[in-house]
């Protein structure tokens, strides 16, 4: 065995001895550390409701900026109507969409929406003129 190898082996034996002599922490220290942990957890738990309150206050300020509850009710109604029209569009809108995009709509008709297809207005004088012909 070379001198270096022997020195390394001996040093490892010293380190082994140190690892075997690992002193246990005193019980009082373990109790203090655990008490600190409890205290930090309790403080964190107390701080949580405050966080929720601050979040609610921030949300309320945002709502007020947008106009308060009436404005939000209007926005909600518009959103629901929009979704309704998207999911169940009236027949006139359904037929208009493809015409607009494939170019088959007659000139001037692209902006006309027949809200009551099939219905016919008759002039009081009996002219029998279709309002759509105007």
């Amino acid at each position: 065995m070379t001198d270096d190898n022997r020195e390394n082996t001996e040093l490892d034996a010293w380190f082994d001895a140190a690892r075997q002599q690992a002193p246990a922490p005193p019980e009082a220290l373990m109790r203090r550390v655990l008490a600190d942990a409890d205290a930090v957890q309790a403080a964190t738990a107390r701080a949580r409701p405050g966080l929720v309150t601050r979040a609610r206050a921030s949300l309320a300020r945002g709502l007020a900026t947008l106009g308060g509850t009436p404005a939000m009710a209007g926005l909600a109604t518009a959103a629901v109507v929009g979704m309704w029209l998207g999911a169940w569009p009236p027949a006139a809108l359904e037929s208009l969409g493809p015409q607009l995009f494939d170019g088959t709509a007659a000139p001037g008709a692209t902006y006309t929406v027949d809200l009551m297809p099939g219905a016919e207005f008759t002039a009081p004088d009996g002219g029998g003129e279709d309002v759509n012909d105007v």
């Binding site: 010293w14 380190f15 001895a17 690892r19 002599q21 922490p25 655990l34 600190d36």
Partner: protein, 195 residues
């Protein structure tokens, strides 16, 4: 590095810390049992065996861990790496070497169990090593303790000490050489001639 069994089995330190932050008392217990002995022993070795100082450092380091739990970012650093760094900083901040006493000065109960002699020899060797470690420059001592007693790899030691792996290798090599010289005269006295 050996981790003693605890009430949370194989859960990682990081997972336990997340549970601790959520208010889990069992996680607090498990982390205390798992990490406090390691932190205490490391402080003891860096402080030259001063038990009272090591207790203060260990409690302070663990308190900092509890406070850091809620902001802990998983995957960024290992809990043990972070703790070793905190312990070292706390130890280096305490320039009160006058109060230090050697490990061998701490009273130990008389060991009368079978196999007591090998244990006494091991203790004497550990004390001699601690005395030699105390004579090393602080950074060399930290690197040697982390590498050869705590069993950390060089990359992790580099993260703890905030230096390069090459610098860790240099520190541990110089530390080992100095320890070898310091302990050479005690080989026969501590039974190495018989090994």
């Amino acid at each position: 590095m050996q981790t003693p069994p605890d009430s949370c089995g194989g859960a990682s330190d990081e997972a336990l810390l997340t549970r601790f932050a959520a208010g889990d008392a069992a996680a607090a217990q498990a982390l205390t049992e798992r990490l406090t002995p390691r932190v205490y022993r490391h402080a003891l070795r860096l402080l030259g065996g001063d038990g009272a100082e090591a207790e203060d450092v260990a409690q302070d380091a663990m308190l900092r861990l509890w406070r850091a739990a809620s902001g802990w970012r998983p995957g960024e650093a290992r809990v043990t790496t972070w703790l070793y760094r905190v312990v070292a900083n706390l130890c280096f901040d305490r320039h009160r070497k006058a109060r230090m006493v050697a490990l061998g000065d701490i009273d130990e109960p008389c060991d009368t169990r079978a196999g007591a002699v090998p244990r006494i020899v091991a203790r004497q060797r550990a004390d001699a090593l601690q005395a030699a470690l105390d004579a090393l420059p602080a950074r060399q001592r930290q690197a040697v303790v982390l590498r050869h007693i705590e069993g950390l790899g060089n990359p992790e030691i580099a993260r703890v000490m905030d230096i390069s792996v090459e610098a860790v290798e240099s520190l541990t090599a110089r530390g080992r050489k100095a320890l070898g010289v310091a302990l050479a005269g005690r080989r026969a006295e501590l039974g190495f001639e018989d090994d």
